[in-house]
């Protein structure tokens, strides 16, 4: 059983790295899954975004401290969304939209998502991780952190993300 983001960065300076990022599914996400399965499946729109680490955008104070299982779509005091990629929209639209396919007991993104750093950007920004969220109804599904903050500070670089998650049965005593 696993749930993970697989992230690849290709900078326009030739830098390339990739990392498999385990993710924690939030309490809000697990509750929403039960609701979808057993009560009402809703026409939620999935969004994916980046967790801000530090630097860039005129910000000098690191805002990241931690992710938590109790984080929700409306309250995640330990982190903030990062928004200097071309696909990132307004503060309410979060980011680009993934589609999913389900096979057996595993769900995967139908195709990887690419975030392209704004070409005008030349800052020295770090991102800390990835999050997956639904809108209408809003719900934070999961957050995943890189092993350490990743620098994405060159305009035109592309961050590519894939996601997968599997489900298993357990026994309640």
């Amino acid at each position: 059983m696993s749930a993970e983001f697989h992230v690849t960065w290709e900078g326009n300076d030739g830098e390339r790295w990739e990392e498999t990022v385990p993710n924690g599914i939030t309490d809000e996400g697990l509750t929403a899954l039960l609701a979808s399965a057993l009560v009402l499946s809703q026409a939620a729109t999935w969004k994916m975004g980046l967790i801000y680490g530090s630097g860039g955008d005129g910000l000098t104070t690191p805002v990241f401290s931690a992710v938590a299982a109790t984080d929700t779509s409306t309250s995640h005091p330990g982190w903030a969304r990062y928004g200097s990629f071309a696909e990132v929209g307004s503060s309410t639209s979060h980011s680009t939209s993934p589609a999913f396919s389900v096979s057996g007991t595993t769900v995967t993104m139908s195709s990887p998502l690419a975030f392209t750093m704004n070409t005008s950007y030349r800052g020295n920004v770090y991102i800390r991780g990835i999050f997956l969220i639904t809108q209408s109804p809003a719900g934070l599904w999961s957050t995943g952190l890189f092993s350490s903050a990743r620098q994405v500070g060159h305009g035109g670089g592309i961050l590519t993300v894939k996601y997968s998650c599997s489900a298993a049965a357990g026994i309640t005593p």
């Binding site: 009560v39 489900a167 298993a168 309640t172």
Partner: protein
């Protein structure tokens, strides 16, 4: 790495006695959960409980589906043509609990004893299952078998008995 783990339980109430049984959510049920959560749609989920007959029982399997469960069959000698309605309340804090809207909607009545009838005075039941098709005895391929649960040993219930079924389910993470 972590994934989702779903765990459930049934309670079977009959004549003042309550038996709680853990249940395994099938692969078909897990697939259903992921499909309904990750693929945008608007659809109410309706669930029903049925009884697993002791006659012919050899076992349950994670790979059982509504259409195919070769190790067991449903007890069909019931007073109603419909399975018991399992109406789930909106989950909170990672737990979904059965919340009946009307008294008796989540009950299964065994056939009463009729003098001169060949119907037995008692039946043995191995367990309970939950599916999204109402009709007793259905093996429709369009149905989803969410879960199955077994008593520790076959239980004998008298003809005419009313079994009231309660269901609950939790979601959590699984570390690997």
């Amino acid at each position: 790495m972590q994934g989702v783990i779903l765990s459930g339980w049934f309670e079977v109430h009959c004549e003042g006695e309550c038996v709680r049984i853990s249940n395994g959510i099938t692969q078909q049920g897990l697939n259903h959960a992921l499909l309904k959560h990750f693929n945008p749609s608007l659809q109410a989920q309706t669930w029903y409980a049925g009884l697993i007959d002791d006659v012919g029982f050899t076992g349950i399997s994670d790979s059982d589906t509504h259409a195919s469960h070769s190790g067991w069959s449903e007890l069909t000698s019931l007073a109603s043509a419909d399975r018991a309605r399992i109406r789930m309340a909106t989950p909170t804090s990672k737990v979904a609990i059965h919340s009946p809207l009307a008294v008796g909607e989540n009950a299964i009545d065994l056939l009463p004893l009729v003098p001169g009838s060949s119907h037995p005075a008692a039946v043995k039941i191995r367990g309970v299952f939950m599916a999204n098709i109402a009709t007793v005895g259905s093996t429709s391929s369009g149905g989803v078998l969410w879960s199955t649960g077994l008593f520790d040993a076959p239980r004998t219930y008298q003809a005419g008995a009313r079994l009231t079924i309660v269901y609950g389910c939790t979601a959590s993470e699984r570390s690997t």
